[in-house]
């Protein structure tokens, strides 16, 4: 009997899609891959270290990029042993336990909200402004984050304290042309014509498809049909035709975009050996007619048009049905986007869904600055203050950005209106700075004659 049970359970564990071991509902960040147990539980034995390795496999790079304010190395120092005994911040699972729906809060935090107290109980001694503040407000009032404080640290607040709500020249970076990673020997670098199309003859008869391709950045930049519809021309031979190329084909040229896509909620199932994510599986509010077709690159970009304007708003609206998304149409950001499309305003001045949720980032590659699009739409939403530096500050002042992102109702209205609350962090930073300056001036001898 026990042998039968062992074999059955072992088989169940090895099969993706088995829910028998699912011990509790997973968070919004992991439910997509909850049936791929081994993504997190990499080994049957090993405990917290194995889980920690899994956390860092997916989130480690992000922690480095954001200059994690509480890296593990701070807590492995023996001088902090007493603190670790209270709160073992060496392990992600101390604060983020999975399968605990009743105690899971925003960002999957499963600790009581006053966790900062464990180490910063005496903060009031150094900062009297913090004396009467309850500890559950440290990370929930728009002032601090546990990991990413790049837009919230004191000197940054001071540096940007007087910036206007709207900057004089609001604009985001212009995306540079994607760089081909895999060279295709017979690719030409001039716009292609219908006669150039190297698809089988019966395929080129579809005028709609032909028209979409001719208008696309692919045809305009010499990317022919078989560049995508052949998995590996050198191996498979020029005659091999792949009717529906998958994401790996896109990835062969758009490496960084694919990396982001596979790291985000849209694509994470695909790298976990699960069928692609689809709107019916989502926990977020989706449109009833969004369907259950697995998401891939072409879900948003289209199979031949690869229209980035469409992908920037319309594609999102096909599925997303939350108040924030529904309020986009007619919002100030939408108005700017429409003006950019119409050519009334300069490129880079419009604000689409992608402008904020799939921001552009510049990186030096081979001595050239490449501006790419982050395709992990959760990258800057955990929590939303992460959006400030990469997105908001392109157009808005810091104070306005902090206040707007702390105003849930304003977010639901897709920023129609002004922030109704004021986060006092900048005021306190200025006050403290002035006090310190006065103190310093008082102890230094005056040079005035």
């Amino acid at each position: 009997m026990s042998l039968f049970a062992s074999v059955y359970l072992g088989f169940e564990l090895s099969e993706p899609g088995s829910s028998i071991y699912l011990v509790g509902e997973t968070t919004h960040g992991h439910h997509q891959i909850e049936m791929a147990c081994k993504v997190c539980h990499k080994k049957a034995f090993g405990g917290e270290d194995v889980l920690q390795e899994a956390c860092m496999d997916c989130h480690g790079e992000e922690m480095k990029v954001v200059d994690d304010s509480h890296p593990k190395s701070k807590f492995t120092d023996p001088r902090n042993a007493e603190r670790v005994a209270n709160l073992d911040a060496r392990l992600c699972v101390t604060c983020h336990r999975e399968h605990r729906p009743r105690i899971s809060g925003p960002m999957g935090v499963t600790l009581p909200d006053d966790f900062c107290f464990h180490c910063h109980a005496d903060i009031g001694k150094d900062r009297p402004s913090h004396n009467a503040l309850p500890f559950e407000t440290c990370a929930s009032a728009g002032c601090h984050n546990f990991h990413d404080n790049r837009a919230l640290y004191e000197d940054f607040l001071l540096k940007h304290s007087d910036a206007p709500d709207l900057l004089p020249m609001p604009k985001v970076a212009i995306r540079t042309r994607s760089r081909r990673v895999l060279p295709v020997s017979d690719r030409q670098d001039s716009p292609l014509t219908p006669q150039d199309a190297d698809a089988p003859p019966e395929m080129t008869e579809d005028l709609q498809l032909m028209s979409e391709w001719l208008e696309s950045s692919h045809a305009k930049n010499g990317v022919n049909c078989r560049d995508c519809h052949t998995l590996n021309k050198d191996v498979d031979g020029p005659g091999h035709w792949l009717n529906t190329p998958d994401e790996s084909v896109c990835q062969s040229c758009h490496e960084s975009e694919a990396k982001g896509f596979f790291s985000g909620k849209h694509g994470m199932r695909l790298v976990s050996n699960l069928p692609g994510m689809n709107p019916a599986l989502a926990k977020a509010n989706m449109k009833p007619d969004a369907g259950d077709k697995p998401l891939g690159c072409v879900s948003c970009h289209g199979a031949h048009a690869f229209d980035t304007l469409k992908a920037a708003v319309q594609a999102c609206m096909q599925c997303h049905n939350d108040p924030h998304s529904r309020a986009y149409a007619g919002s100030p950001h939408d108005e700017l986007f429409q003006n950019e499309i119409k050519g009334i305003k300069k490129p880079g001045t419009g604000v689409s869904c992608a402008t904020c949720h799939m921001p552009r980032f510049a990186k030096n590659k081979d001595d050239m600055e490449v501006v790419s699009v982050q395709h992990n739409q959760s990258w800057n939403l955990r929590p939303n203050e992460k959006m400030i530096r990469e997105v908001c500050l392109n157009c808005h002042g810091l104070r306005f950005s902090i206040d707007a992102l702390a105003d849930k109702r304003l977010i639901e209205k897709n920023f129609k209106g002004r922030p109704s609350r004021r986060v006092e962090s900048i005021d306190w930073a200025k006050k403290r700075n002035n006090e310190k300056k006065e103190k310093k001036a008082a102890r230094e001898p005056s040079h005035a004659l």
Partner: protein, 194 residues
């Protein structure tokens, strides 16, 4: 050059033999290998040398003398040099990540960042001692259920960049440091026993 090579070989030997040496709780008379004190002294010699070179040859020269570039706490945002104390701590964090058989940190009775004030009893007593005597201080302590050989070494203001930065910093509790002052202490901990 010969001296450098000698130190380099010593440290390599120490790092190689260190874990073996730490398997004994008898600190001063290890039956074989080297004692934790010798290991700590050697590690500190390397740390102090690197710290002095970076402070004098990079930060003080480029910032204070040649005025080519500034050093800043927010070095990434300000496109500036990393502060000597940050350089030291970053090294300590990398060592911690590598799980080497020792840890080190920089603390002070007058820290700009309050988290770097002495915490353990050994740190409090040791800092007071090295400030009083200007000499290193050795002890043993138990932290988190583990016993450590703990050594504290005076951290001296070796260049104007050290004291001018601390004296000018708005969060510095002490503003009259001068060249040669003990500004804090380097703490090296080596775990003892298994």
């Amino acid at each position: 050059m010969k001296k450098k090579l000698k130190w380099g070989l010593s440290v390599m030997l120490i790092l190689f033999l260190g874990p073996t040496a730490c398997n004994t709780t008898k600190v001063e008379s290890a039956p074989f290998g080297i004692s934790p004190k010798v290991m700590a002294d050697a590690l500190h010699a390397v740390m102090e040398a690197d710290r002095t070179v970076y402070t004098k040859m990079i930060v003080n020269r480029l910032q204070n003398e040649e005025k080519v570039i500034k050093a800043s706490e927010h070095w990434k945002d300000d496109k500036a040099l990393v502060l000597p104390a940050q350089m030291f701590r970053m090294g300590a964090e990398r060592v911690a990540e590598s799980k080497a058989p020792f840890s080190y940190s920089l603390i002070s009775l007058w820290p700009v960042n309050k988290q770097n004030a002495p915490k353990t009893e050994s740190e409090k007593i040791g800092l007071a001692e090295i400030n009083r005597t200007g000499e290193s201080y050795y002890t043993e302590e138990t932290l988190g259920g583990r016993k450590y050989f703990t050594a504290l070494y005076p951290d001296i203001a070796v260049a104007p960049a050290c004291y001018s930065c601390h004296n000018d910093h708005q969060d510095s509790p002490k503003t009259d440091f001068k060249l040669g002052d003990v500004m804090g202490g380097v703490v090296i901990r080596i775990p003892l026993g298994t």
